[in-house]
Amino acid sequence: MNGRARWATFAPHLRPPPVALAILFSALAGGALVLVSGYNPLLAFAEIVKGSLSFDSLPDTLNWATPLVGMTLVAAVSLRGGMVNLGGDGQLVIGGLIAALLPLVMPGPGGLVSVSALSTAALGAGLYATLAAWGETRHGIPMLISSLLLSYPAVGVTSYLARFPFRDVTTGLPQTAMIPAAARLYVLSGALNVGSLLIAAIAVTVIFVDRRTVAGYELRMRGNNLRFAGYGGVNLERQAIGTMFISGAIAGLVGAIVVLGSQFRFIDGALLTPAYTWSGLMAALLASGEPAGAILAGLFFAALQTGGFAMQRETSVPRVLTLVLQAIVILFLAIRQGVGTRGR
């Protein structure tokens, strides 16, 4: 064994972990951007850490993480099977609107109303997401495109419904009427409600299905090699539709949790402004769809964004900087993966 071959054997073990390297690079590039804009990057980053991980701000981080980790799972479930669900926004607002309208018309005890609102929201958004799968399996439209294009009509129509037929005319804002107090989600403490537990339960379920069940194995097989999965006897069409249903249903549930847990009505645009869908997608991409890693990445992004509010407050660096940092992490990872494998 000559020196070069020996180096080739050991080099992979000596390489620093790519995710850590990506975060470091993103901090350096983002720091340079902050410096050029005339602020102190060290101060800005210190505020991000303080504003997200200190004892006082941890509940805020967890509250922000609830929808973000939810949308991470939306992206991760489909990504695990090699499908990209870019339609999270549309599925989110469909779930949110259903959850905002059902309690207004449904009689009965509050608990029953909120459970039915959650499940109807999941069902509605899940069915809408299967349209995208159907577009790919039957009409040859790549899932990436069909899910994204279907998102715009959903956003437009829900926006119309909230602004015109179902508008709460007693307020001057584009929003639906307030849902009765009994139908709201049970508050655990402060801003945290039972919705966070629900997302945690879904997260555990997704990890379990991914690691321990046949369906999870078949989905991973599809993600690694679509044709192999097909030859192995997986019904690809049914799998695509089922996966997208689950993915969309989680998105609908997230929309319902935000509406029933913190906003108590459907406010036009309020579900989309925080860009949970895109942060979730980035978190899922960061872990290539592996659920446990994706959830960690989602928590990381939630901390980054929560810290962004504190940074903007304390140092007046615009908090949209955190979106730039996230994008750089993804780009660095996507581009870097080729560097080590070049020339093989």
Partner: protein, 318 residues
């Protein structure tokens, strides 16, 4: 129904077509060299923002257009090298670039101009419309092009240029060769990596023009995420046109008219939340019909194809 086909419809259609057409020309160029470009949306946004910056600081529309092209080309370096020399997955790189564009333009909007949301200022010089009175009386063509920005004309001229270069020159032959089989092209002595980088950067300049039309064409304003899905529609036009600029242009005409129709319906009292949906529905319908036609013409191959196997749009694991 006849009241819909007014001169105004044609004018707004040509205006709506311009940015999508420029972006889809860019998409065709990238597609021909085998780089699937999903970043059109973000490239346009960067172009739109740099256009406003350039116009504001040079006090000239031309300076704005130049800055838009320069900004978009610089931004395209990520795709040019990321998806070629570094062999990153174009799908992931594209998604990352779109988000970076959205974040970066919003950040710079606050830092450079100190505002959030939208920026408009008398200092931003727009392109202005070239009025051609002789043309304005001509039905259809005159209605569409009688009063348009220079970029609306440029978009169609560039469609011709790109088509000629792609199909009638030796450089175009090499481009197409790289897209068909990069290894074979490399064996024949074509510098694949260099061609790819140049094609992606030229495409970047085209998306810069598309962005300039958005922010300096009809209005002189930059709004956050003002590309508003047009880049994705351009991606679809490229797919429908199978990287042929002329077919992609035909798809753009369809989407442009759908867009113009929605503006028209709005002026007749329909809420814009509903009418805004029409270009996307037209796009979906075009995709479904396009696929029908393709499967009918190549029915022999259908049984061999795996459902959902759209190799280019499946991301590799990171």
């Amino acid at each position: 129904m006849t009241s819909l086909f007014t001169p105004f419809l044609f004018q707004s259609a040509v205006q709506a077509i311009t940015p999508i057409l420029l972006a889809s020309l860019a998409g065709c160029l990238c597609g021909r060299v085998g780089v699937f470009n999903l970043a059109l949306e973000g490239q346009m946004l960067v172009g739109a923002f740099s256009g406003v910056v350039g116009s504001y600081f040079t006090h000239s529309a031309l300076g704005g257009v130049a800055a838009a092209m320069a900004g978009a080309v610089a931004f395209s370096l990520v795709l040019a090298y990321g998806a070629t020399a570094f062999r990153g997955d174009p799908v992931v790189v594209g998604i990352g670039m779109n988000l970076l564009a959205s974040g970066l333009t919003a950040y710079l909007l606050r830092v450079v101009f100190g505002v959030s949301g939208t920026f408009s200022d008398p200092g931003v010089v727009g392109l202005g419309r070239i009025a051609i009175p002789a043309l304005q009386g001509v039905p259809v063509l005159g209605w569409g092009f009688g009063r348009q920005s220079a970029l609306a004309w440029a978009a169609w001229a560039l469609t011709a240029v790109v088509s000629v270069v792609m199909f009638k020159t030796s450089a175009g032959l090499r481009l197409r060769g790289i897209g068909d089989d990069p290894d074979a092209a490399g064996t024949l002595g074509v510098d694949v990596a260099r061609y790819r980088v140049i094609a992606v950067l030229v495409a970047g300049a085209l998306t810069g023009l598309a962005g300039a039309q958005l922010s300096l064409g009809a209005v002189s304003v930059f709004a956050e995420d003002m590309s508003a899905g047009r880049g994705w529609i351009a991606v679809v036009a490229v797919m429908l046109g199978r990287n042929n600029p002329l077919y992609a242009a035909a798809a753009c005409v369809l989407f442009g008219f759908a867009d113009a129709l929605s503006i028209n319906l709005q002026s007749q009292g329909l809420p814009n939340q509903l009418t805004d949906v029409s270009p996307y529905l037209a796009t979906l319908a075009a995709l479904v019909i396009g696929h029908r036609r393709r499967t009918r013409t190549s029915r022999r191959n259908v049984s061999a194809a795996t459902p959902g196997d759209t190799a280019t749009t499946r991301p590799r694991a990171l």
